[in-house]
C-alpha cells in the first residue's frame, strides 16, 4: 500500500524541544506516508508525548519544522491542528467531568439550531453511533456520575467519531 516514491503526508524535521533542565526532543525527524500506521516506541520520558503535543500545537518546538503535504506549517494551537486534519487521542482523558457526555463530544465543534446548541440532535447521533458499535453510553449523563473504566472507554472514540 505504501508507495515509497510518493511524498510523505507528514514530515517532522529536526524537532528540538527543551524544558528547563531537560531536552525532551533532540533533533527528531520522521516521515509519515498516506495510509501508514506508525508507532513511536520508547520508555517513560523518552519524549513521545512531547513530540505529539508539538504536532498538535500544545507545545511550540524550539527548533525544527513540520511539513504537511509538502508545505511547511507552523502549528500554534490545537484549533489550527484540527483544521489541518490532525486529531489527537490523548493518553490522559481530556474530558470535563462536570459536562455531559454529549457536551464533551461536541465541544469545540458545536452544532447549533439558531442561536442555541443542538444538544438533542447531538445526543441522538451519539446514541445511534453507540448502538452501531455496541457501546453502552447515555449521552445525557454527566461524566462525573459515570463509572470510570466501565462507561468511559467509548469516549476515547471522540477524536475519530466526530
Amino acid at each position: 500500500m505504501i508507495d515509497a516514491s510518493a511524498h510523505p503526508l507528514l514530515q517532522l524535521r529536526g524537532i528540538t524541544k527543551r524544558f528547563p533542565g531537560v531536552i525532551a526532543n533532540d533533533n527528531v525527524s520522521l516521515d509519515l506516508f498516506s495510509g501508514e500506521i506508525l508507532a513511536l516506541l520508547g520508555e517513560n520520558g523518552a519524549g513521545k508525548t512531547t513530540l505529539m503535543n508539538i504536532l498538535y500545537g500544545l507545545y511550540m518546538a524550539d527548533e525544527g519544522e513540520a511539513v504537511l503535504k509538502g508545505v511547511p506549517v507552523r502549528i500554534h494551537n490545537p484549533r489550527q491542528a484540527i483544521d489541518l486534519g490532525i486529531a489527537m487521542v490523548h493518553q490522559h482523558f481530556m474530558l470535563i467531568p462536570t459536562l455531559t457526555v454529549a457536551e464533551n463530544i461536541i465541544l469545540g465543534d458545536e452544532r447549533t439550531r439558531g442561536p442555541l446548541l443542538d444538544i438533542q440532535g447531538a445526543e441522538q447521533e451519539i446514541s445511534e453511533l453507540a448502538r452501531q458499535y455496541g457501546l453502552q453510553i447515555d449521552p445525557h449523563a454527566r461524566l462525573q456520575d459515570l463509572q470510570s473504566g466501565g462507561d468511559w472507554p467509548g469516549l476515547r472514540a471522540r477524536g475519530s467519531a466526530f
Binding site: Y56, P78, I96, T98, L99, E103, T112
Partner: protein, 342 residues
Amino acid sequence: MRVRELTGLRPWIFPLCLLLGSLFFGAVAAYKAPNLFSGPVIVAMLAVSVSRATPLVYGSLSGIFCERSGVTQIAIEGMMLTAAFFAFAVQVATHNIFIALGGAMLAGALMGAFHAVLSITFQVNQIISGTVVNILSIGLTGYLNRQLFLFDQAIDVTVFPQLPVPVLADLPWLGRILFSHQPLTYVALLLPLMAHVWLFHTTWGLRTRAVGEHPLAADTAGINVYSIRYLNVIVGGALAGLGGAYFTLESIPTFQPLMTNGRGFIALAAMIFGKWTPLGAWGGALLFGVAEALPVTLQIQGVTVNYFLVGLLPYVLTIIVLAGAVGRASPPAAIGLPYDRR
C-alpha cells in the same frame, strides 16, 4: 430534583428561608408593631426588596461570567463603584441619562479589561489583581469626585423614572412587587433567565464552562482559552458596570464616596449561595434584597429596633453564606489558576 439541577440549591432552602423570615417578621410584629403584618406593608417591603436586589443581580452575574471561565472575581465592588461614579460624571457632562448608562458599562468593562490583563496575560494572583481593582477604584473615584464635583453646587442630574408596566402594574400584590419599577430593575428581573440560557444552551456558554473546569481539555478541543476568558471578564465588568449605574442612575442622582458600601461582596455571596448558577444567584440576590429592605420597612413603620443592628442583617447573612451554611460550595475547578501552555 429539578430545582437542584437548575439552581444548584437544595429545594428545601427556599421554604426554610421563607419560614425563618416570617418567624422573624412575626416575632418583631407581635412584639413591636402589629401593623407590620398587614398585606400592604409586606407588599411594599417586597417591592423594595426587588429594587434593592438589582445591583446584587448584576454583580452576581458579573461573578458568574468571570468565575465560570476560571477567573476569580472579587473586584465586583470596585467595578461597581467606578461605574457608579462615571455614570454620574457622564450625566453631568452630557445631561443624557442613556449616554451615562453607556459610560457606566464602559467604565465597568475597562476595569474588567484591566483585571483581565493582570490575571490572564501577566498571571498575577487573581485575588491580588481583584484587590488592586477594588483599591484603585476607591482612590480613583474619591480623587476625581473631589477634583470635579466637590464645590460644584449647580449640578442638574436625574434618575430613571418609575415606569409601571401597563395592565400588569394593576395586578393585586404582584403589580406592586414586580411591575412598578425603574428600567434597570426590570432588566435585572429578566437577565438571570437570559444568563441561564446563555450558560447552559449556547456555544459560548458551553465553552465558558469547559474553560473554567478544565482549560487544557478545552484547548485540545480547539478552544482559545485566552479569548474566552478575556471576553467573559470584560463582559462581566460591563455587567458590574450596570450594577454600579443603579446607584447613581436609579437610587439617588448624586455620587458619594464608597456609596456601593459592600454590595459587590454581597453580590459575590449571592453568587456562591446560588452555586455559580444564574437562577440560584438570582434567588440569593432576592434573599439579600429582603434583608436590605427589612430595616427600611421597620424604620418606616416606626419600630424602635436599633436601625444599625437590623441593618447588619445582610452582612451577617453574607458571613453565614460564605461560611458554607448553604451546603458545600462547588466552584469551577480551574478557578484562580492562570492557564499557561508553554
